[in-house]
Each structure stands twice: as C-alpha cells, then as structure tokens.
C-alpha cells in the first residue's frame, strides 16, 4: 500500500482515530458550513456531517435522494462498530468534498472518479438510522433499543412487500444532483461490504423548482404541491417538541438528540389518477391543483381555516389535508416533519408506470404522532389511488461530534 493511499484513508477516518472534537458543537451542521454558497434550490453547497443532530433531517431536501436499507451481516459487535465507523467517516469526507489523493497507477483508484478529480460536496447529506431488528440477539443490543422503536406494522390500506420493507440500518442520501448521490452510495458501500448487505433501495427526486416563489412547495406525481403544512424547522422549540428525544426522559440515555424516522414507499397509480375529474382530485386533496391553495383560497400557504368550515362546505371532511392535519390545539403536538421525494421505478408486470412517493417523516414518538395521523387517514378517498408497498421504522441517533466520532457511537459506549 502506498503512502499516498494510506494518507487518504487516514483522512477518511478508516485507519487513525482522529481527535474527538470538543463539546461546543453547532445545533446543526448547516449552520456552520464554511462559506457555504447557496445552490439554486436554497440548499447549501456544503452541509457539515457532524453536529448535535444529524444532517439531512432539518435540512431542506435535496433535488435527488436515495434511501437504502441495509442488513447487518457483520459477524460480531466489533465488526459492526467498524462498519458504522467507516460509514460515518466516509460520509463526513464526501459531505466535505476535496481533491482525490494521488496514487500509484497500479492500484485501483481510491474513488470511482465519477465526479471528477475534485469531489464537490454538492449539498450531500448522509443520514444514518437503525431499525428495530438491529436490537435483536445478534449484537447484544437488545437492552438498548429505543423504547418507541418497533418494526413498522402493516396498516389496513397497505400491501407491503417483505422484500422492500424493514432493515437493520437505514442510509438516507440526498444532494443537489443525482450523480452526487449515486457516487456517494457507491463510495459508502466500499469499506463496509463485510458489515452490511443491501436489503432494498429507492431513488427519489424532487419536483422541479418552478415557483411562483422560492418557498413554493414542489409537486408530487399527482400534480399537487406536497409538504405545505410542515412545521417550521427554524422553530427550535417546535422541533424539540415534535422531533428530538430529550435528555432525561424514559428513553435510553444514548438516544437523546435523536429522532424516529418513518419511511414509506407509496406507489401512486398514476394512470388511474389521470382518469379522475379535476374537481374530484381537488376534493380528495383539499387543495387546488394549480396554486396549491386550500380550496376556496388563493395562495398556497393560506390557512385553510378548517375551524370555520366544520361541515366541509369548502374542504370535504375526508380531504387529505384535513385528515392529515386537522389544525386543532389537540393535534398540534402530534405533527410530524415530512420529507418526501417522488420516485420512478420504470413499470410493472402489466405495463403500468411504477411511480410514487418516497415518504419520510421524523417524529419523537411514531405511536403518538405518525400512527395517529395514519389512523385518521385510513380509508380516505385517496387510498384507491395509492398503495404503500414498503418502508420501515428507524431511529436516527444524534449526530457525530466530529472526526473520530461516528453516528451511533453512544449506543456502543459502555
């Protein structure tokens, strides 16, 4: 092995243990991104991997995403730790970007080179989370399972495919461009082949930024704006209430600063949807398709004033927006932070487009938040046009403290 390669690997944190960073950490990677120029989408060009909370949660979703569920195949706890450590180290380097190391020409290059000799960070975030199955007997983690982490149940309108559901470790990648995500996944898997096996993956993309304002929500594949009702990520108190596991609660101490991540692959039957009248489509959603305004309104972020419409004169009582977020004082603390991407997987066995929504939600208690919403939505008119086919429940722990630390390290601390 050449010196140059060794140096590269060391910088990637695979060989040497870097000094543990101090306690004074930013609340979020994004906040301290060094001289981060903004991309067109408003997502910074460089998003620091480390931070009190992992990047890629509060961060605005990038144009492209890939979510990969991995099964742990590490023979023992030490190999599992090494794999997680390598994932964090490589993700940190990729998120930072930089020049590829010089190498001897007879060695396989240390990087695939698909982004050229200088890797631009391109707003890459890599978020790592754990599924309930990681806490089984294999690695002796059973006693440390986050209390609210279970395998995702099947809901009555689901048609879950076991091959696209659950997983020990979830890796969520997002960036401004597709090739950055593709590159990152390829590089991240390289050092962990003996620790993790691919279980399922799903690629997502955002609807284009077509205005009318920079804040306008992107469109999903039903043609409607999606994510309008999200809580504000800049509201730290709301995020503490809705997302972050607090210190000193009933959760294991290592889980503080983390959050529960719900992933759902939701097939959308787009051909069928396209055969439905516009008025019926808008009634099912509760919004206008063109502007995204609540029915009866003019602009996207207008309050639908459900309180003034108890009989559904404006917005039908079973419209999606009303069921998903009734906007009452009782439901305010049950909101979730949604992060969705469209997906397009080609077509199925009978020639129908296989498209849908890669739905991601963060919350502090899936039972109290996500599932309550899910039960409200059960049987909504839209269920005929969508089929949840996969996904899972995961726990995204707090962020790494800096080079040398890694996502999940507190779980293994003795």
């Amino acid at each position: 092995m050449s010196l140059s390669r060794r140096r590269f690997l060391a910088s990637a944190g695979l060989l040497g243990a870097g000094a543990l960073a101090g306690e004074a950490l930013p609340a979020q990677g994004e906040a301290t991104a060094p001289s981060a120029p903004r991309s067109v989408s408003g997502r910074p060009a460089r998003i620091t991997f480390d931070g009190r909370h992992q990047a890629g949660i509060l961060t605005a979703p990038g144009e492209a995403a890939t979510i990969v569920a991995l099964d742990a195949i590490a023979p023992g706890r030490a190999e599992l730790i090494a794999g997680l450590r390598a994932l964090s180290a490589r993700a940190r380097d990729l998120a930072h970007g930089g020049a590829m190391p010089e190498q001897e020409p007879d060695e396989p290059p240390a990087d695939s080179g698909t982004l050229g000799p200088v890797i631009a960070p391109d707003g890459l975030t890599a978020t790592i989370a754990f599924g309930a199955s990681l806490f089984d007997h294999r690695y002796g983690l059973g006693a440390r399972r986050p209390r609210r982490l279970t395998a995702m149940p099947a809901f009555p309108d689901d048609d879950l495919d076991p091959a696209r559901t659950h997983g020990d470790v979830l890796l969520a990648l997002s960036a401004n461009r597709r090739d950055t995500v593709v590159h990152a996944l390829r590089e991240l898997l390289r050092p962990v082949r003996g620790a993790f096996a691919l279980r399922w993956s799903l690629d997502g993309f955002l609807g284009g930024d077509r205005g009318p304002t920079p804040h306008s929500s992107r469109r999903n594949l039903f043609g409607f704006r999606d994510g309008t009702g999200n809580p504000h990520t800049g509201d730290a108190a709301a995020m503490d209430e809705l997302l972050w596991v607090p210190r000193g609660g009933d959760e294991p101490a290592w889980a503080a600063g983390g959050t529960y991540q719900v992933v759902r692959a939701i097939r959308m039957h787009v051909e069928f949807w396209d055969r439905v009248g516009l008025r019926e489509q808008e009634g099912m959603i509760g919004r206008r398709r063109d502007s995204g305004a609540p029915l009866g309104g003019r602009t996207e972020f207008q309050d639908p004033r459900l309180d003034l419409d108890p009989h559904g004169r404006r917005i039908p009582l079973d419209a999606h927006i009303r069921l998903a977020n009734p906007r009452t004082p009782e439901t305010a603390s049950r909101r979730i932070l949604r992060r969705g991407w469209n997906y397009d997987r080609g077509f199925d066995a009978d020639g129908q487009l296989d498209q849908g929504l890669l739905f991601v939600a963060f919350n502090r208690d899936p039972r109290r938040q996500f599932e309550v919403i899910q039960h409200r939505l059960a049987g909504e008119p839209m269920t005929d046009y969508v089929t949840p086919v996969g996904g899972g429940y995961f726990f995204a722990p707090r962020g790494a403290r800096g080079p040398g630390d890694w996502v999940g390290s507190p779980l293994f601390a003795t």
Binding site: D157, D159, R305, R313
Partner: protein, 339 residues
C-alpha cells in the same frame, strides 16, 4: 366504495349553501339521503356573474341550452339526469350480481368438499371458478366492505404478512393449495369461505348503491382488475390474474349494458366504450384460442400477448373513465371563498 364517499360532503354543500337553483337542486333536496354525482368543475364566476340585462347567470343559460337535443337528436352530457333514471340499471345489476354470488357460494361449497376429500387438483379448479365468480359480481374498490376483506383480503395489509393468523379468505386458501404450505388450515379456511359466501347474496341485496357509485363502477371494476389482477399481485400463487380480469371484464360489460339506455343519444362517451370493449374482448378470445380454449396462467403469456392485453385494457379504461362525468345528476356547486 371509498371513492364514492366524496359525494356526501358535496351533497351537503349544496343543501347547506342553498345555492344554485333549478330542477337539479330541487331533486337533490327532495332526496337528501341520496348523494349526488361527482361534479366537474364550475367556476364561481360562471355561477355568480349575471348576463347583462337579465337575472340569469352564464351557468343557468348553459344548463338550459345543454338540456335540449341538437339537430341529430343527441343531448349534451352537460344536461343533468334525473336520479330515478338510474333505478332500473342498478336493479338489473343487483339481480345479476346476486346470481353470481350464488354461483360463488356453490363454488366454495364444492371447494370445501374437495378439500375435505383431499382432492387437491379438484380443489384448485373449484378455487379458480370461485375467484372468477367473485370478480364477475362487479363490486369494485371495497364496495363489499369488511365482507370483501374477509373474502379476498391480501397478506400485505397484515403485520406478519402470510404468516399472520389473520390471513384468511380466498388468498390464504390459494396459497395453501398451490404451495402446500399450511394445508392443515384448509378445512377451517374453506369453512370460513362457505360462511362468508352465504352472507354475500344478502349483502348485495342490502347494499346501498347510489347513481354515483354505479357510474363510477363502470370503470372502477376494471381499474381494480388492472391494478390487482392483471398485474399478478392479487393471486401470485395460482396465476389466476388473467382469468379474474376476464371476470371483471364480464362484470363491466354487464354494467355498461344496463347504462346503455342512458348513454345512447347523450354526449359521445358510448362509442369509444363499445369499441374498447370489443377490442379487449377480442384480445381475450385470441389468447383463449392460442392456449387451447382456456385462459392460461399469467406466467404462460407471451410478451406480445401481454403487451396487447395491457394496451387494450388501458385504452378501454380511458374510454370508460368518460362514463361518470357524462351521467351526472346535477351540476357542481361553487366552493365558497376563504375569508
């Protein structure tokens, strides 16, 4: 079933708002228990703006004009239909569906007997016959409610999937018959089918079917079949999807047949539907001929056969989707503005 619930709040809108006027709304007010047909878009402007010098809105004038047949005797599909016009078609459909339900009940009774006798090959034939009968009833999208789930629920809706103890009904029997797993459950599972099969006729006799339900069914039976059956998703073990799709096709022809008197001489929805039905039917017949006189398992279909079936069905569905909007019983009401 889910889809038609849309109509109820819309009917409420028109009652509470008291807006509009004319024969259509009076009719809706006279029968508040019956939801109205899902409307197309009408802008607020067309309702509220008055034509200069008159007290009539553009919408009033358009509605009146639409109700009159043109020189060729064809009425515009914008003219609302009286709800009573749907009673004979729905009654005919119900009678036919009860006959199919009786045939289903007989098929699952044979299935139970053959299972008890240990005759697996015969039981498989019974199962296929029963599954096709279920499709021929033509109750799309959960119209049968919990009974439909009990009869044909799929494992993907259950935590634990096929290993769940709550996995029962036709597809649990299918899995046991074709994979030889959990065969010991067959007596209990088939007894459950016989019990639920007996309830089916009563359920069909009793279930409320509104004009909106019924016109939506014209395309939803086959939408359902395309999504679940022709895709191979619903019956993965037996490969019965194509046969079930043919059953759904027969049910759709029956629905369209009952609606033909309403569609004739009204708009232009009927002709593409008839031609789509003919062409998909011809494709099914061609596949049947090519496979020795019976529809094969989906796995036995060639690529060309698949592509033609998918394409003809898609074309037919596009045509069928024009039926509900052309058979509206009233025009949509305006959505009140947000303050």
């Amino acid at each position: 079933m889910i889809r038609r619930r849309l109509a109820i709040p819309l009917a409420l809108v028109s009652l509470l708002a008291g807006c509009g006027g004319g024969a259509t709304d009076r009719h809706a007010a006279a029968r508040p228990d019956l939801p109205a047909i899902a409307p197309g878009a009408v802008t607020e402007t067309s309702r509220s703006l008055r034509i200069a010098g008159t007290d009539r809105s553009a919408q009033d004038v358009a509605t009146a004009a639409a109700a009159a047949p043109d020189a060729a005797g064809v009425r515009s599909e914008l003219a609302p239909l009286p709800r009573a016009a749907f009673r004979p078609p729905i009654a005919r459909w119900r009678a036919g569906s009860r006959r199919e339900a009786a045939a289903f009940a007989a098929a699952v009774a044979r299935l139970r007997a053959d299972v008890a006798a240990g005759a697996v090959a015969a039981a498989r034939r019974d199962w296929l016959a029963a599954d096709v009968r279920l499709a021929r009833i033509g109750a799309a999208y959960g119209a049968l409610g919990p009974l439909g789930v009990a009869l044909a629920g799929r494992p993907g809706r259950l935590t634990g999937g096929v290993s769940s103890r709550r996995f029962t009904g036709m597809h649990a029997v299918e899995r046991a018959l074709w994979t030889a797993r959990d065969r010991a459950r067959l007596p209990v599972l088939t007894a459950g089918l016989v019990r639920d099969g007996a309830r089916l006729r009563r359920r069909i006799a009793a279930m409320a079917v509104s004009p909106l339900d019924y016109t939506l069914r014209a395309h939803e039976i086959l939408e359902d079949a395309q999504r679940d059956d022709l895709s191979g998703e619903a019956a993965p073990w037996s490969g019965a999807g194509l046969r079930v799709t043919a059953g759904a096709y027969a049910a759709t022809r029956r629905v369209v047949g009952t609606l033909r008197p309403l569609l004739e001489g009204r708009g232009d929805a009927l002709e593409p539907v008839e031609s789509g039905l003919r062409s998909f039917g011809a494709e099914l017949a061609a596949v049947r001929r090519a496979h020795g006189g019976a529809l094969p398992s989906q796995r036995a279909l060639g690529r060309r056969e698949r592509e033609r079936l998918d394409g003809r069905l898609g074309q037919l569905l596009e045509a069928l989707a024009a039926i509900p909007p052309s058979l509206e019983t009233r025009l949509p009401s305006a959505i009140p503005s947000l303050p």
